[in-house]
Amino acid sequence: MKRDSSDLSISKIYIFLLIVGIAGTFLLLIYPRLNLRVATSPDNSDLINQALRESVPLIKSVWLNPVSHVDSTKCALPKNVGTAYLECNPEGWQCVWDNIDQVKLVLGGNTYHIKASRELEFVKRQVQGVQQITGYLGEIEIVELNKKQKIFLSRTCHEVYLPERTYAYGEVKDLRDPGILWDNAGRKLFIDKFYVSEREVVEWRNYLGQNSETKNPWKPAKLKKSEQEDFCQFHGKNVLMAHFFDATQMTPLDQKMKFPDLVIRPDTPWQRDYNRTFLSESKNPDYRLNPRDCSLAEVKGCSESFFMTDSVSWSGVAFGLGFEEERFYNPIDADLDLKKSSRFELASSAWHKLGRRGTSVEDGSYSFRCFREIL
């Protein structure tokens, strides 16, 4: 009897194990498939959210500073083009993903790999929505979590804030003359750091359905006045105003005093005393331009360079003197709308002074940049 009863017990155990096995198989393999829409492990769902959140600085870094992920020599940039060209630019993004398959994200001691779509789609917002009006759409993937996510990348990394201060406009004949002063208290103004490039103009024109291309996308685009206005407006901006440009270039005497009664106008962005600059020294016929001179102000005799940052002023805006003839909108003196200081003028030219402007040719095409105000 004892033996029978123990056999029965063993049979019960086998049956129990069989039921648990079948139930386990059902729960492990079949049930989750029936509930794919909602059944995700809590750890995994939170992990995906966390990994996406943590991936943002990494994606930002690839977008804003691609050369920190790939050697710039792999991006087919000529030597006279600065790596700033690749920043928040689809070309920089593509260069990274052409050369590396994925980037690593370390989270909670585990390593995850992020891949991204090489191609970015240029988009313009046509309906009410986020603050940005134009930018790019792409996709990233967190490989280990099998999570793909669409992303929007903004192209504003080359705009800099103009601090709220009192600024001077243009030139004065007498140093004791305060000239025209103005201030931007209460305004959040952002100025383009570089000229609008041919790449941006091609992208704009192609978006509008006009077939356009360029072999030198880093070169400053030269557009007519109405085209400049249309381009800036397309991006939710306006053509840079002359007094804003002066503000970006004339280094304040006292950074701490924001609204002084008197504002001194320096002649150059990098040296208050004009007589101590190479522009003044070049009046000596024996003076020879050196590379440093040309990096500060590209004047006649310098070789061309693009997207270099050596000439940036106190505010971070480049190309204050020399480089291209640049057209502004000048509501104070409508005729003085052109920065004549450029690579077409000898270093000794009188045009190489901040605030000094000439008149643009009607229907002429010039380099330009935009500004935007954020409320």
């Binding site: 729960l27 049930y31 989750p32 909602v38 059944a39 995700t40 492990s41 809590p42 769902s45 939170d46 995906i48 959210n49 996406l52 959140r53 943002v56 994606i59 930002k60 804003l64 928040c88 988009v123 917002r125 046509q126 309906v127 009410q128 929505g129 986020v130 603050q131 940005q132 009006i133 930018g135 759409l137 669409k150 992303i151 929007f152 990348l153 903004s154 504003t156 990394c157 800099v160 804030y161 601090p163 009192t166 103005w182 201030d183 931007n184 208290a185 209460g186 305004r187 952002f190 206005e229 407006q233 306006n238 053509v239 609204f259 505010s315 509501p331 104070i332 409508a334 954020i374 409320l375």
Partner: protein
Amino acid sequence: MIHLMLFLFALTSFALPDALISRYELIETHEFYQDNELIQRPLDAWQAIAAFSTVNTDLSLSKVCLKYYLKSQTEGTFRVEKKSMTENCSGAGEIISEIKNLRGLQFQRTPHFKITFTYQNFSTSEWNISLRKKNDLRLLETPDRHLDETVLFVSSGSENTGLLKDGTQCLKVLDDCTVEGTSVCHQCENGFLEAPNGCLVSSQYCLKGSCGKKGGPACRRGVKFLRKRVLDCRTDASFAFCEAGSTPVCQGQEVWCH
């Protein structure tokens, strides 16, 4: 047995929906509940816990409402609904996620928005929803950093709210410099211009073109450089200017060019 319970618990928990991964801003939260307070009333009614805006692929925004329904003090249903930005959370919307038979629900607003779900077996899970942080502006700051919009997650969807036409006032500032509401100027079809009124922030209008042109608002020269406590257009409009050929004219306190 514990493993089996954990597994069953896993089957009843939910992933954060894409619409909340692509959240943009926290629009509203329930004003009554304190952070991490267990929601126990009212019974038999839906209540909105919070609402977020979420970014669609066309860069439009939709509203995502997080709602909770208490059948009894120990049984509730949590729902995520997607709606257009103009709709109120109280009405029914497109259900994108639902968790039934919850024992409890709590939420906290800071440092990020967190919802804690308690299930009938007393196990818990969380949704952590981080928020954009607008940064203060300093020298060399960029708009993307200021707005925290360099990288945005987007989810499928679209909203067809047209952009604002030229002439629409997108920010109203009263003569006493009181700002009414918030700016919607980034929704203008052709950009916007301010009509200087001597205040730090002036009224803004959806308008194409540049300031200082005939028929449009004047350009602002500033509000500090004149060293006056009050700037009144009718006594001295020199805080604004127009292009040569047009004259500054006061319209109320605003300066326009005629």
